[in-house]
């Protein structure tokens, strides 16, 4: 029972939790907190079971549950997990659990917050588990709604603007995705939404057609669909120039939500590309890969430069915000994912997927750490600190760890993924990769600079008696720190999980 429906249990436990939390009396704040914790801990345990029982040798979906849902349209409730998604599922459950701990201090609208949060977790898990396009789409939208409220209600000063921007952006993307979904359905024979079916050769056949008087050949139509799908996912990644919602949303969202945004939501775009565009439209993906690599490069460099500007740009011009810096660094780091994905080499794709996971852990740490300091001093101005190193040594240690992990220091997990991406992409785009390595320097530059501004140098006397990290905050950070170090030293536990599936994915492109 448990093993047969493991994924469903995992996806819907938070929903149950949401109902329970919603039914609790709102005056019992601790009940709400503890039950939310319980209902994020359960999926964590279930994902642990999943991890232990996952067969690394298999490339196909495992723990598959497939039942007919809307038979008229051949829609299934189909969930399963393979090497591509398992790391992200583990990341999701872990981060959700940690974020509940990090949300302990929230007082206003606690019940609503946690209900939304649990719904969000269900949506995220659903996205990573679903392999029916329709179900995927449902979860995609399901995740959107709580996120909108979480940013829009519990966010910072410009929360409404940020939330609406986030929502509209993503909705725009998902509308394009919807078009593609319908196209897949109607051009597949037999009509199906099943992603695995669709990826089989010969199922999907496009015809030439006219759209608004422009006649498209079948190939052009497929390319158009790819671009639609790409934009849908690119917004989530986010890929330049669809990235502008990100700094805003990250900055305005409350800490745990920034963590989820950066740690998991950004991965959905790349995941979607790998899950849907790659297997189903391999030719078009291959055709587009040059552009993808260039966009990856732009992301890397552009994100890093914009992040660095947060230190130089005065506050009045929208700079000087630590969270924004991290947000832009996320853009930069997602660029590595794109670069790795674009080359179809073993190293590249492993590096990309592993980078998704690593970015999840490191950026989560970063946002949590920003939250820690924000809770204490209620601002995030990079210039507003100074010399905290001796006042809050443990905090400093964690920030340093997170910063160094982000800038790709060897021995920490991001290094492995970045190096894999570079090794992979160098084979295909040597000169582009060389330019991309600039990103490493730029990353190092702004992270170290920020580190210096905040922790080094003479102590800002305002913060003479700043409290160091608390046990609860330590609890949220320590697991991530351990993951970052352990996977940095020995990455195989993570790479082994994804190996078979990614190799299988690559076979699609070997002929091209």
């Amino acid at each position: 029972m448990l093993y047969e429906h493991l994924l469903s249990f995992m996806i819907f436990t938070p929903v149950v939790g949401m109902l329970i939390v919603a039914l609790l009396p709102s005056s019992q704040k601790n009940w709400v907190r503890w039950s939310s914790l319980l209902f994020t801990f359960l999926p964590l345990c279930l994902s642990g079971i999943l991890f232990l029982n996952f067969d690394q040798a298999l490339a196909d979906m495992q723990f598959v549950e497939k039942t007919s849902w809307i038979p008229t349209f051949n829609i299934h409730y189909a969930v399963g997990v393979d090497g591509l998604s398992i790391t992200l599922i583990l990341l999701t459950t872990l981060l959700s659990f940690l974020c509940v701990i990090a949300s302990w201090g929230i007082e206003a609208g606690l019940k609503g917050y946690f209900s939304m949060f649990l719904l969000l977790e269900a949506g995220m898990l659903g996205i990573f588990c679903a392999f029916d396009f329709f179900l995927f789409y449902i979860f995609w939208e399901l995740m959107l709604l709580p996120m909108y409220f979480l940013i829009g209600i519990w966010g910072g000063p410009r929360k409404e603007y940020a939330a609406i921007k986030f929502f509209l952006y993503t909705l725009f993307g998902s509308v394009l995705m919807l078009v593609v979904m319908l196209a897949f359905y109607f051009y597949s024979d037999p009509h199906t939404f099943d992603l695995i079916e669709l990826s089989k050769a010969g199922i999907l056949k496009f015809n030439a057609l006219d759209i608004f008087g422009i006649s498209l050949s079948a190939e052009q139509f497929a390319k158009l669909l790819f671009i639609f799908l790409f934009i849908g996912f690119a917004i989530k990644v986010p890929i330049f120039p669809f990235h502008t919602w990100l700094p805003l949303a990250h900055v305005e969202a409350p800490t745990p939500i920034s963590v989820i945004l950066a740690g998991i939501l950004l991965k959905m775009g790349a995941y979607g590309l790998l899950r849907i565009s790659y297997p189903i439209l391999p030719h078009e993906t291959y055709w587009f890969s040059d552009a993808l690599a260039v966009l990856g490069l732009v992301n890397i460099i552009y994100g890093a430069l914009c992040a660095m500007a947060q230190i130089t740009l005065p506050e009045a011009k929208g700079g000087n915000d630590l969270k924004k810096l991290i947000a832009y660094s996320s853009i930069s780091h997602m660029g590595y994912v794109l670069l790795g994905m674009s080359v179809f080499t073993v190293e590249g794709i492993h590096g990309a997927v592993f980078q998704m996971f690593n970015h999840g852990t490191t950026t989560a740490m970063l946002f949590l750490l920003v939250g820690v300091i924000y809770d204490r001093v209620h601002h995030r101005k990079i210039d507003g600190f100074g010399g905290l190193g001796n006042v809050v040594p443990i905090y400093t240690a964690f920030v340093s760890l997170a910063f160094f992990a982000s800038l790709g220091l060897p021995g920490l997990s991001s290094f492995i993924s970045e190096i894999l991406v570079f090794l992979g992409s160098f084979k295909v785009y040597p000169s582009l990769t060389i330019v991309a390595t600039l990103g490493i320097i730029l990353n190092a530059a702004f992270f170290l600079w920020a580190l210096q501004k905040i922790f080094l140098g003479p102590l800002n006397p305002t913060y003479k008696s700043l409290k160091d990290i608390s046990a609860r905050e330590l609890l949220t950070l320590a697991p991530l720190a351990i993951l970052v170090i352990v996977l940095g030293v020995y990455p195989m536990p993570a790479l082994d999980l994804m190996k078979s599936s990614l190799d299988h994915l690559l076979t699609l492109f070997q002929a091209l």
Binding site: K165, Y169, T244, L305, V346, P410, A444, L448, Q452, L456
Partner: protein, 667 residues
């Protein structure tokens, strides 16, 4: 064997971790732990050395799987051969002595335990760098060493200059590292996924490494790229700027990292990968090295900060080594690394001792310390003699060999005369500025009595390392004959051992032999000249330097401002970059976000406004509200029926029902 290596290697890591987490709770904050840990590593390294002496050859390797994907497997492996053993000894010896020295030097610092943790961590990384057998891991430890350097330079981070220096060090070396990394990728790509030294060497030896890029052979390109890493780490022009600033760190750190070990990593790397460097690449190395040597020496001439002078000297000496490697005299280059490690560490530690005593780094405030700090003076003198290349001291051995190599190379390729020119002038300048330092610190009459009064000799934990290191500055420990330097043959029965130590020593050809005599003579003359000149300038006629400076204001200012290189970098790299950042971020906000994305807003708002108007006027007000008006007027009439009396309703309902029934049944 593996156990031994692991003990040797991991003990510092273990002590680092223990000290980091528990340091504050251990007695004496755990410095003994670090020292003892290093002692263990030192003992083990020395045991390897002894074994090497006995067997004359040594080679041990071990590999284990680390990262394997389909078609890619990167292993982790150790390679121990004579070079490794020598490096291990250098690293552990200096590190041990520095640890010992630091127990006194850093006494009472609030972050004492953390300091030792960092130091041990550095040692661990450096040992790793030396031990590994593969390029990727070399890169990994390369970076970790950089991290340790960053942490240690910025150890006193409350000083803004220290944190600036740390950042600068990290970033500058990282620029070099990117070259290194690209080089690795190039090799990885060209060799089809090989990373282990041996595999790559084999691949190159088989001549499979082909291809050109912009007319340059790929191998050359790869060599130059790899050398870029060395340039960063070993502070070669133009990436040398970080090293003088790095003197902001505690002096023992400078001795360990920025004199003896980390900066020598570049030299080690070039030696280790010597096979990969094509003649063209070597020439590049030689030029960079020679120029750096000369260039740094000139800057050392005028500086008055005791540590900065030493730092420029280090850069200069490293340039020497690079030059040696570049001209083919890699034995000499590497030997110079070893000897330099000893005497430069000694010099730094001495300067540390002085700083510890006087609490200043400005030489102009010192003077007359000879009587106050005799041990420091004498050990420093020995080290200075050694660096100046005076016979019987270790520096003479290696430097002489280097110059000979250079000279023979120039004799063979006269078009590269510049190399020799740089090399020999630098030799003279080295002697001059080193003795200048010695004179200003110890011999000149005291200028600032306040500073001098409190000065006293340092405790044993500081002087013992000085003594040991100065002892190692004697030639005796390094003399083999190294080609009939007959004078030296009287020392030691350890004939030629150094030659054996180095992997496949290049046969000293005829030219080299021929060059040896002149080189030695020339360098001796230049060194003596330098010493005498400094004697003249600083002891005999102390007003001379002042006058000289005034007379050659342009040169003097250039030197004092270090050729305005920092300012130049600021102008041409950093400022534009920052401007670009700001511009981009601003545009990101104003153009992409507000124009490109939010720009859709007017369109949509106008459209929606239009449709809103339409909706409002045509549909809503006319159609919908119109029907509402119809309904409401009729309703006003009809509501009169609604009396609020239920019974009337029933009456009407039944009546209506009757009518309905009648209609259905009877009509």
């Amino acid at each position: 064997m593996l156990e031994k290596v692991l003990w040797l290697w991991l003990t510092p890591l273990a002590t680092a971790i223990i000290l980091l987490f528990l340091g504050k709770r251990l007695p004496r904050r755990g410095d003994w732990l670090a020292v003892m840990g290093l002692g263990l590593s030192l003992t083990l390294s020395l045991s390897f050395l002894l074994e090497l002496f006995q067997t004359h050859t040594f080679e041990w390797r071990e590999q284990m799987a680390w990262l394997s994907l389909s078609g890619l497997s990167i292993s982790f492996g150790w390679l121990i051969d004579p070079i490794t053993i020598l490096m291990l000894c250098v690293v552990t010896t200096v590190s041990f002595l520095v640890h010992l020295y630091s127990t006194e030097y850093l006494k009472g610092d609030p972050n004492y335990a953390r300091y030792f943790a960092y130091l041990s961590f550095f040692t661990f990384s450096m040992l790793g760098l030396v031990l590994v057998d593969n390029l990727l891991w070399l890169y990994i430890f390369w970076e970790l060493v950089g991290l340790a350097s960053y942490l240690l330079i910025g150890f006193w981070f409350e000083k803004k200059s220290a944190s600036d220096a740390a950042k600068k060090a990290f970033l500058t070396t990282r620029i070099g590292d990117m070259g290194f990394f690209i080089g690795i990728m190039l090799i990885f790509y060209k060799t089809g996924g090989l990373l282990t030294y041996d595999d790559i060497f084999k691949f190159v030896a088989q001549g499979q490494f082909t291809g050109e890029f912009l007319g340059i052979p790929i191998l050359t390109l790869a060599g130059i790229l790899l050398f870029l890493g060395a340039m960063g780490k070993s502070a070669q022009f133009p990436l040398h700027v970080w090293l003088p600033d790095a003197m902001e760190g505690p002096t023992p750190v400078s001795a360990l990292i920025h004199a003896a070990t980390m900066v020598a990593a570049g030299v080690y790397m070039v030696t280790r990968l010597y096979v990969l460097f094509t003649p063209e690449a070597q020439l590049f190395i030689a030029y960079i090295g020679a120029f750096t040597a000369f260039f740094a020496a000139t800057m050392a001439l005028t500086h008055t900060d005791i540590k900065k002078v030493l730092a420029y000297s280090t850069i200069s000496q490293l340039g020497y080594m690079m030059m040696g490697l570049g001209v083919g005299a890699y034995v000499a280059g590497f030997l110079h690394l070893v000897t330099h490690a000893a005497f430069k560490a000694c010099l730094f530690l001495c300067s540390g001792s002085v700083i510890h005593a006087t609490h200043t780094q400005d030489m102009r405030e010192m003077g007359g310390l000879k009587s106050k700090m005799p041990i420091t003076f004498w050990t420093m003198l020995i080290a200075t003699l050694s660096i100046s290349g005076i016979p019987f001291f270790s520096g003479f051995v290696s430097k002489d060999l280097l110059l000979a190599g250079c000279l023979s190379f120039v004799m063979e390729h006269p078009e590269h005369l510049l190399l020799a020119l740089f090399a020999f002038i630098t030799a003279g300048m080295t002697a001059f500025y080193m003795f200048r330092l010695l004179c200003m610190t110890f011999l000149m009459p005291a200028k600032n009595l306040k500073v001098i009064d409190h000065a006293h000799e340092s405790p044993w934990a500081m002087t013992l390392p000085l003594c040991l290191l100065s002892g190692l500055s004697f030639a005796i420990f390094f003399t083999g004959s190294l080609d009939g330097a007959g004078l030296l043959q009287v020392f030691g029965s350890w004939h030629d051992w150094f030659n054996e130590v180095i992997l496949n020593p290049a046969p000293l050809d005829e030219a080299h032999g021929n060059a040896h005599g002149p080189a030695m003579a020339l360098s001796l003359i230049l060194a003596t000249g330098g010493i005498l000149l400094s004697y003249l300038f600083y002891l005999k006629k102390p007003e001379l330097p002042q006058r000289l400076a005034q007379n050659t204001q342009a040169i003097y200012q250039t030197l004092i401002h270090l050729y305005w290189i920092d300012e130049l970098y600021q102008k041409i790299i950093i400022q534009p970059l920052l401007k670009l950042n700001t511009f981009l971020a601003d545009r990101d906000n104003r153009w992409i976000d507000q124009k490109l994305v939010d720009g859709w807003k007017p369109l949509t708002t106008q459209t929606s406004k239009g449709s809103g108007h339409f909706d409002n006027i045509v549909i809503d007000e006319t159609l919908v509200d119109g029907s509402a008006v119809v309904v409401s007027t009729s309703a006003i009439q009809l509501r009169k029926i609604q009396t609020g009396k239920v019974q009337q309703y029933v009456l009407m309902a039944i009546g209506a029902f009757c009518i309905l029934l009648i209609a259905v049944y009877f009509l």
